[in-house]
Amino acid sequence: MFRIAALFCGVLFGAGLAVSGMINPEKVLGFLDLAGNWDPTLAFVMGGALLVALPAFQLVLRRERPVLAPRFDLPTKRKVDARLVVGSAVFGVGWGLGGFCPGPAVAALVSGKGAVIAFVLAMFAGMALHSLVFEREGLAGSPAAIRGQGHGDG
């Protein structure tokens, strides 16, 4: 059931990316190009997502536990640290160069385009590199890394 729920949420998420046009990196760059022919669509996508997610999260987190799991698995980090800032800055540069963040990049694999596959493989490599540098046990090691715990924010 847990996996079926995850699959279903993934389908909705992927459909949302495709419907909104965010699966198209050129359109994302249209938003990120303030000095060009600016396309505000991405703000409407984030706005639409938050319109649902913000009240829903507040309500859901009042519950004792989620429906299909014994407890919520939430980020625990509270402090704004150098890793958060530097990592986000590096991520933003990559996002600005390619117009892809992880969700749209994975979803755009359905286009079958070589450049998309190349981006995704490079993204995997970047993640693996992070594991090698910052997690002593490497990729297949610490369960914390696998569950995204201790990494906090998702």
């Binding site: 949420c9 990316l17 999260f57």
Partner: protein, 139 residues
Amino acid sequence: MEGFTPVSGLVGGLLIGVAVALLLLLNGRIAGISGIVAGVLGGFRGGVGGWQAAFALGLLIGALGYGVLAGGVPVEVPASVPVMVVAGLLVGFGARLGSGCTSGHGVCGLARLSVRSVVATAVFMGTAFATVFIVRHVL
């Protein structure tokens, strides 16, 4: 590039909002795609195995399904393959170092009213705007 599409943007955004809210309600997890992808790479260990792979598969099915219904969705790659590879490396490494990306920080983190996510979102939006400005208007 068909320009500004507020309605489809809003509808797609609402779908994404429902997706992340449901994942939290049902599974108690944050829909941060970079964490999910890293989970898939790590070989689905820990906790309830394989849910990350199921979610990632769902992303593909959702995009493919809409593409079939809509008669295709445009995916225009903005740069050469070498540049896309550099971009991918930076996105993968940066998202892990910064504990999240557009979905984990930009949607879920903001919805949780997380200060870390507000800072992360401001920083990556800032460097993305700056990067595009430099690439398109300076170089």
